[in-house]
Symmetry: C2
Subunit: 302 residues, 2 copies
């Protein structure tokens, strides 16, 4: 039971209608691994610069996160700045400074090479492929995230990576862009011809939808009276989803549904505060309680 994540560790500057933070720890692999560590042991592969302090690294300590794969390079850590609009449903990227991430070549420590569960966060598909090449035995589940940038600029490389992907986790517009199909069921059917056997569509305030085989399963977003910062919600979702799947011996339909719920649960916590603030203070009983809340919110009898 080991879960490998490869992706960005970053500093973010974020402005939302509820506040402004000039520099806080972020990055897909950070959100993912903290969320997943509530469920299983996580092996983290990423890169940081020499501005990344022991204090920054403290978010990983005391959790089931192995940072032997977190490379340290000469230079500055990846930096992203963004601003959300009044309704939090749109964001503007104000700055993307790749810094040490520009030359990042993921290298898996020996102990990571037999990972059974792998999450390839949103990075260059060529790097995603290079991770899979370093794995010594066939993983049980490879899940992947990507974005419009790679769908447009490196379609061939992305297709090659998708051939080896079991679960694709993207949002509505990426689903439509990748498949060139507006209807999500038809989009899913197209995506299944590219490799993935399951598609998880992240829909923000509208929840998430799983399509696999001929079934679909939907889970709403948790209704919150206050969303402070949506940054990292999708990666936290992925962390809860994959963390749960990596923690159980066998994955079937019931388990995929439960993973959707745990993904939604974790994502709903992240947005309650800025950055990782809420996740850092999160306790396991809160996860169970919110999962029960999702249950109450969706169940009915006929």
């Amino acid at each position: 039971m080991s879960l490998l994540v490869v992706g960005s560790v970053a500093f973010d500057a974020v402005e939302t209608p509820y506040g402004k933070v000039d520099r806080m720890l972020g990055g897909a692999a950070t959100y993912f691994s903290v969320a997943a560590s509530f469920f299983t042991h996580v092996n983290l592969v990423g890169v940081v610069g020499n501005d990344f302090t022991t204090r920054d690294a403290s978010v990983f300590r005391g959790r089931r996160i192995d940072t032997a794969g977190l490379e340290r390079s000469d230079g500055k850590t990846f930096f992203w700045a963004g601003k959300y609009n009044q309704n939090m449903n749109e964001r503007t990227t104000l700055a993307t400074e790749l810094n040490v991430f520009a030359d990042f070549k993921p290298k898996l420590p020996g102990t990571y090479q037999s990972s059974e569960h792998i999450f390839l966060a949103n990075i260059d598909p060529t790097l995603q492929s290079s991770v899979l090449h370093q794995v010594t035995r066939r993983p049980k589940i490879v899940a992947l995230d990507t974005m419009n940038y790679w769908i447009e600029r490196t379609p061939k490389e992305l297709r090659e990576t998708l051939r080896h992907t079991d679960i694709l986790m993207i949002n509505d517009s990426e689903t439509r862009q990748l498949s060139n199909e507006h209807n999500l069921l038809l989009a899913a059917r197209h995506i299944f011809t590219l490799g993935p056997k399951a598609l998880v569509i992240k829909r923000g305030e509208y929840g998430a939808m799983l399509v696999h085989q001929n079934r679909s399963f939907s889970v709403p977003a948790f209704p919150l009276e206050m969303v402070h910062d949506p940054t990292g919600a999708g990666d936290t979702f992925a962390g809860g989803f994959m963390g749960y799947l990596a923690s159980i011996p066998r994955v079937g339909d019931a388990e995929l549904r439960r993973a959707m719920v745990y993904g939604s649960v974790m994502g709903s916590f992240t947005v309650e505060k800025f950055g990782l603030e809420r996740l850092k203070k999160l306790k396991r009983p809160e996860i169970r309680a919110r999962a029960r809340h999702f249950y109450k919110m969706t169940q009915f009898s006929l």
Copy 2:
């Protein structure tokens, strides 16, 4: 167990990416009553012109729909023309000809005046109020739909009508506009101070959400590979919702949830074809089967 609906009976011209119909029967009260008649007996109040033929009226025959309250006036029937964009998520109104509807004053036949369940479709709030004044005993449930036009132009009259409303059934943007609050939970809380005890938010392709007391319940939209015409989906939803509630002796949380599902089920059929085509051919076993499908699509265990 009687369900009264007051609203428009109309002719529609609709264009979607899947076709174009120059004149078909429509109107909120039409969709509502046909949908509700699968569950209970419906009393219809509305007005048509002398272009409304026996053939047009045939949609109501052979169903549990009483049309004694469907007035016939000298002039033409209400006409609406609209066009949907490629993704069906936006529509442009091309024409609204009120015709006989301009002077419509709802008059309840004597047998309708003791209706226990009332649905006030989207019309002038003053007319909605006038319906409630004609009712001789306190109804069990009054549900109401409205739109941006009334929220902006007749806020005072709408507030007066809302004071006597149990369930408000509107869409996201109307919810936000009426409450002047983007967050839907806070919006619901505001709306509850105006009268309604429950809020049903219709979210189109994202499903529907019920908020009442301190609980929320969400049901996704049924994923369809082909949506031909979204016209009438919201009114059909209301028909399934209220039709179900009017068919049972006691309404609690479990029954409201089931009503949300039946509303979604009925709405999902309507959009499969143009206008009332799908509802006209619908059979009860199909309703049960699709409700079970909703069940499969949303249920999970922890």
